[in-house]
């Protein structure tokens, strides 16, 4: 879209969405999230040619939380390919992200890799592959984001662990169905750390370019995923990426993406660009209020939805 003034558009969107401050609530289950200044907004748009536009605090690091489930899935698929889908399904769940009910009815097979149970199984997959999965994950994120500044926020990981009874329950439940190969403490250590990845909007947008670029890093040129593998991950994001608001996001934004309770959202348009937003206030479904609106305004203004 030659000549389109993306920089101006992003600034206009920021002005528009900042009117929504106060409509949501910051995640409160751990102090590290609860104590964040809610009135923050950032947005970065990166094209495949690395042309980049940002507004707001786009170099402020935040806890990406569930967005990390996309990274661990990518890493697992890059190593063992479609076999990952023998251990987690690819269908939307219709139940809360940390529900045990559906697991019980389906003999412990998680519906998809973006509910907690599914992400825990993916953590287990990584543990079975690597001696040091956290180091490998960090290297991977450094490589695909083109930034070696991304790190695990140890305080967040520790708080996640201390309050993570539901996740301990899920992991033990999965183990009771023989869905976990490694010791539960080790699996959850990977899981709690991945949730604690701290990134900026610029880094996040850069990292998701891999999925817009059919599986190939634009920075290192490493082809981590085949085009088909990238397409699969994009389609799972489309149907399962937004907790119980996947249908709403598909309509309002119309791009495959993934959100986290830290207030971040990353989305892509295949073959074109990656976009990341961050703002800590969440709606009742756990998605960023300003982030959802900003992405909606972006696709409305540019027509760059997939529908």
């Amino acid at each position: 879209m030659t000549g389109f003034d993306y920089q101006n558009l992003l600034v206009d969107i920021a002005t528009e969405v900042e009117r929504l401050y106060g409509q949501g609530k910051v995640a409160a289950y751990i102090p590290e999230l609860e104590n964040i200044d809610p009135k923050q907004f950032a947005m970065t748009l990166t094209f495949l040619d690395q042309d980049k536009y940002s507004t707001g605090v786009s170099q402020q690091r935040f806890s990406i939380q569930s967005i990390s489930k996309v990274f661990t899935l990518m890493l697992a698929v890059s190593e063992i390919g479609e076999k990952v889908y023998q251990r987690v399904g690819v269908e939307p769940s219709g139940d809360p992200f940390n529900s045990l009910v559906q697991l019980e009815h389906e003999k412990g097979l998680p519906r998809n890799p973006f509910i907690n149970a599914g992400a825990i199984v993916v953590s287990d997959v990584l543990l079975s592959i690597y001696d040091d999965p956290l180091k490998q994950l960090l290297n991977f994120v450094h490589d695909i984001s083109g930034s070696d500044q991304v790190y695990f926020d140890k305080a967040v990981a520790k708080s996640e662990q201390l309050t993570g009874h539901r996740n301990y329950a899920l992991a033990n439940f999965l183990k009771s169905f023989d869905r976990i190969e490694n010791p539960i403490e080790d699996v959850l250590d990977v899981y709690f750390h991945q949730c604690a990845l701290a990134m900026t909007c610029e880094e996040l947008s850069a990292a998701f370019l891999l999925l817009a670029n059919h599986g190939k890093s634009v920075f290192s040129s490493n082809a981590y995923l085949t085009p088909s593998q990238a397409k699969r991950i994009n389609s799972i994001m489309q149907t399962c990426g937004f907790y119980d608001q996947a249908g709403e996001f598909t309509f309002r934004v119309g791009l495959p993406g993934k959100s986290g309770v830290g207030g971040g959202i990353a989305a892509i348009k295949p073959g074109e660009f990656s976009i990341a937003v961050w703002s800590p206030e969440l709606n009742q479904y756990g998605n960023s209020v300003l982030g959802m609106k900003a992405l909606e305004l972006f696709t409305t203004a540019t027509g760059k939805s997939i529908f």
Copy 2:
């Protein structure tokens, strides 16, 4: 895609998928479906400019079954707009299409308009609007398909009614939550008839052009839906159109679409084309075996997926 030989592609796809005969089973719950010759295949591709390509028995009429849920939804939205979504949700269900469990947990609000409970509520919406909703529905389908040959197969409608205990249960259950305004017999009469719409692949492909054309009929130029309303319906098809295989279809085909247990599937690429396939043998999820494969081959060959 100037110069692309779509006719040859469709013929090649037909040859390829016909090897799959015998891998699925024809729907057996009513004699009208059970007694159909399973070894039939048809496919029609129609572009917005009405450029049309067909292969197989594309002028053979079949029972479109659940695909009709898209037509009644379009008609209801064309009349009362977004108010429809106060009566049915837009999120995928994760439960079988005719489950009562989820309804019970959500006080009778159907998760989306493509599960049976949701479609029954949409039938009720039409009954509250029209004196003769079936006549209006037929007129609508005639108009958007450019064919006045489409009809309700009375024998199918009768069989649906006689075996429809689960649907009677759903309708009464909805009524117990005050989710139905009209007499149950009347509502189900609409519902059973819409399922019994008999169409050819050519007619079905033509009718779905409306959704590819942002809500405007390419035949009559009537703008039944706003672009936003059409986009909403497309996004619901993407996340909820294939029973418990929405994620799989999103990946393998990557187009918004809807299937029926008669063996039909219709899908669209916004702004470009509509495509319909038909073959009666179903996989375990109730989707056409040859139809799924044919659409997958089509998007793989042309690159025309939305991902």
Copy 3:
């Protein structure tokens, strides 16, 4: 318990429980129940030798509602014996009395004959046995209660039918699992009429003597049930007779019994007596507030619990 002054005890209990007026709410789903004067109480104790003690409006007829499920079960068992338990289970449900969830998980087999689904199946059993099951049921109740004044309240039956969407849903759902042999309208006609049986406390107490007397009517000497069959029904009352308060009733009263939303409760002590109470105000579980308390006071005062 020679010389025990039961008459005085009943009068004392009535005085005590009448302080509870206003703590519950009359059933409001049909006008015939909603319009009843809530401040009424009756209690009748009948020993096997027909020695009888009453207090309050013990000759006032009321709608026995779910208590009738015991009569239809007795009648079905008297005809086809243990075969009844091939069509309904004997275990408590842990779910609301008209839940569809559990049915869905157990392929339509009702957990026990005292949830609505189970009672509907028992109605179906009677329809398969008799040309005129309602006439047979009435004859049976006349015979075991020693009163030919018991009747079906047609206005109540009609109201039950008009508001009975949940029961229509249950019956259709059961039919979809092939658990019902007769036309649904006929089955529900039996069901809605049995719920509308109008009896006095004296008649109800008399009728339950059959179960205290090991299956033999104390009036006609007809042995409707074997001792084992009577014991089975008593044990089902113990574990399933009080909706989601069976455990509470077992503890507080300690007698097998059955309640109805009309405000009646009937209970027995095997080999000794039958006791019936009525008062229309219900607690949150659908059991009579004064009735529960009166029975608790009775067993506490007399020591006549089974525990």
Copy 4:
């Protein structure tokens, strides 16, 4: 029942039930249970006056497993009375003993103290009361059984812990609803040890006399429970003591009791006697095949059911 030859009856019953060897399966989830000789049977009947009759290997110790849930409940009630029932319900569950579904629907409140979740909460109650709850539990069992030979089988406790993923899941799930006060490892240590209590039929029968004797130990004369507290526990055993076979046991045996997957069953008749049986082969519901039959034959022969 003066002059009744109980010794002969027990011997006859043993002869009768031993024909059933081979109809069930020994619990196989831990080696200590799996490796037990399945062809063993023992039965002890003890009257309140300590008149005692035994047959079979009645001095052979076995793992009492879930029967221990009655002991911990008694101990908790003896300390804090009815407050225990603010932390666990008293209603039957209708779901498998270790289901998480019901917990999720009821915000983590266990339905009763005899499902695993409920027993884990009772363990937590004991931990909040005592510095050394296992020592207190052992003292209590020694006192009420009149035997200081009862012990925790450490090998069983260790195996329970190693395979107890479902119980870890339950405990963490309860913790996520704030239903557990102490560290999960400590709570489960109590829980796994109590399951590993090793007792003989004679000791078990002796220990249950407390409940037949309205809460007072016949050995030490300590009144651990009030009559009302004992009645409450008896009524919970009646409705919840046999996993998903409580209704069946209530009918066939007609006594309040509790079974364990070690093959033991203990039951009582209030004011009269306590009876314990043991035989390792289990039916599909996890109850001892020979044990169930032996108790049925006993109540049939003596008429000593509560119904």
